[in-house]
């Protein structure tokens, strides 16, 4: 079932559009970085000159900056593939066919989530490929071992974003409404919660999904240019930190899975 969903979506216009969009974004990031070193400098505190930094740090800054834009790509992909996966079936009426097959709701849900994760990761990978390409062009060497962590975390963030998107989408019958609702919850509501958390110290902002996703760029430099909440360091985040945030992301994923399953199981094809 997963294979069929992936195969069908890969041939769709939505996937082609996503590939095109990610390619354009990659080229834009590359252009900005090559044309304007000011942007690279904006992440370096004080009066330190980028040119004067050791090469290893410049490489980290490059990946850090690239990953800064990258964190929005899984969100966008999840809105495209995750939040439309279930409503699409209701919208088109293919839910009748799915409901008459010898599969239960859990299987349908898991196939949809797996399919959407693979598709989201595939489309996100386009930017990673461009990132590696420009890294090699710029530094005449391959990215280091940290890059592996970066890709693994990207996969985890994509999975949790897809689960989150599906959890929002199970309440909807319309793909468009579902995608908008997910983006509002993720980009507006989560950021409001994050602001409240930062201001009140009621909860640690690290528990908020939008902040947790930012672990992707902290693999290179442990700083958050948005909230400057974490201790600013030009060193990468330590392994326990990665484990801790990965745990939070997994918790988000499983909670979203449980919500999706309960709502999707209780949903009737007819009232």
């Amino acid at each position: 079932m997963t294979k069929f969903f992936i195969y069908h979506t890969v041939k769709s216009r939505a996937f082609l559009f996503m590939v095109f969009l990610n390619s354009v974004i990659s080229i834009l990031i590359a252009s900005i970085m090559f044309i304007s070193p000011v942007l690279l400098k904006s992440f370096v505190p004080g009066n330190i000159q980028v040119n004067g930094l050791p090469e290893i740090l410049v490489k980290r800054l490059f990946n850090f900056q690239w990953a800064n834009i990258m964190i929005y790509i899984p969100v966008l992909s999840s809105a495209f593939f995750g939040s439309t996966a279930i409503p699409y079936e209701y919208e088109r009426g293919t839910i009748y066919n799915l409901s008459s097959l010898p599969v239960d709701r859990f299987q349908i849900l898991m196939s949809k989530i797996t399919g959407a994760t693979v598709l989201s990761f595939l489309s996100t990978s386009i930017i990673v490929v461009f990132q590696i390409l420009f890294f090699v062009l710029l530094f005449k060497s391959l990215p280091g071992f940290q890059f592996l962590f970066y890709i693994l975390l990207l996969l985890l963030v994509t999975f949790s974003d897809v689960c989150f998107a599906v959890a929002v989408s199970v309440f909807f019958n319309n793909s468009g409404h579902s995608a908008i609702a997910f983006l509002i919850v993720y980009l507006v509501i989560m950021n409001i919660i994050s602001l409240i958390a930062t201001g009140t110290h009621f909860i640690s902002p690290i528990f908020v999904k939008t902040n947790t996703d930012r672990i992707i760029y902290r693999v290179f430099i442990n700083a958050d240019p948005y909230f400057l909440r974490y201790s600013f360091s030009l060193s990468p985040i330590a392994l326990p930190g990665i484990e801790y945030i990965s745990g939070i992301l997994l918790l988000y994923s499983f909670s979203a899975l449980i919500v999706s399953y309960i709502v999707f199981s209780l949903r009737r094809n007819f009232s």
Binding site: M1, F4, G93, Y96, S99, L101, F270, S271
Partner: protein, 288 residues
């Protein structure tokens, strides 16, 4: 053999009862027709049988198993085409049929012969590798029937299979249904408001009115008047007659036996008048 046993089935939508079927049995080797005007509950009944509608009262047993408890098992033996079939537009007919076979049988399709057999039956050979979104309404309908017969189900439910089809399309669907009906141990159930189509393909017809069974009609009970020329005295020797009046004999059900009898005894047949009461009953129950 009873394949579907329905007892006290009732479906509600809010406070309104949209289906109240009472007790019904459906046997194998039969083509059933469910007729009635729009909103009479035809589609609802089929949706309930194939597990799309789960919130119903009463008991449905499919091949002896309770439908609510054994959805997975029953879904393997029920193939359905519900309303206007919807598909994945970027898939191909062959890809979709392969997916349906794999889902229904739980086994990987190793050779394309299985897929091609169905594609051939529904007459989509030339378009099997085209994107579904490029198919016409009639082709989509046939693909829907194809998906309903994937995995050799014992029960085939077809909801409005001739809707929006031209005459050629209807004839093609009629041919497919007749082919399906010739299979051993198979029930085909056709819900339609196309009375002519139902009359052509079904053995037994259930009239639904406001969600209830208004009338049950078996084609076996159809009467046929045969007018013969001469040898009238021999007519009384034919066993399955209803009435003889001069040179006119009235028969019930299939007249093939009588035709054989006539040929054997050199009886010349002048006229055959089939008394089909289906349309008559339809008009009587639902008005003109």
């Amino acid at each position: 053999m009873t394949m579907i046993d329905v007892r006290g089935l009732s479906v509600r939508s809010g406070k309104r009862t949209i289906l109240n079927m009472g007790n019904l049995q459906f046997h194998s080797k039969t083509v059933y027709g469910i007729v009635g005007p729009n909103g009479s509950g035809k589609s609802t009944f089929l949706k309930t049988l194939c597990g799309i509608i789960e919130n119903y009262e009463g008991d449905i047993r499919v091949d002896g198993s309770e439908a609510k408890k054994f959805h997975k098992r029953n879904a393997r033996i029920i193939g359905s085409l519900i309303e206007n079939p919807s598909f994945y537009p970027y898939s191909t007919p062959s890809g979709f049929i392969k997916y349906q076979i794999e889902m229904r049988t739980g086994k990987k399709v190793e050779s394309s012969a299985q897929v091609n057999e169905i594609i051939n039956m529904i007459g989509l050979d030339e378009k099997k590798d085209e994107m579904i979104r490029r198919l016409s309404t009639g082709e989509l309908k046939r693909l829907g029937i194809g998906s309903a017969i994937c995995g050799n189900p014992k029960i085939i439910l077809l909801d409005e299979p001739t809707d929006n089809l031209d005459q050629i399309g209807k004839e093609k669907v009629e041919q497919i249904v007749n082919e399906l009906a010739s299979e051993e141990d198979t029930i085909v159930m056709v819900a339609s408001h196309d009375i002519q189509f139902v009359n052509a393909v079904c053995n037994e017809i259930i009239f639904l009115k406001k969600g209830e069974v208004a009338f049950r009609y078996e084609k076996e009970n159809d009467l046929t008047e045969v007018i013969v020329d001469g040898k009238c005295e021999l007519l009384s020797n034919f066993p399955n007659k209803v009435e003889i009046e001069g040179n006119k004999i009235t028969l019930r059900g299939n007249i093939n036996d009588f035709m054989e009898f006539a040929v054997k005894n050199g009886i010349k047949i002048m006229e055959i008048n089939r008394k089909n009461v289906l349309v008559e009953n339809y008009k009587k129950i639902f008005g003109n």
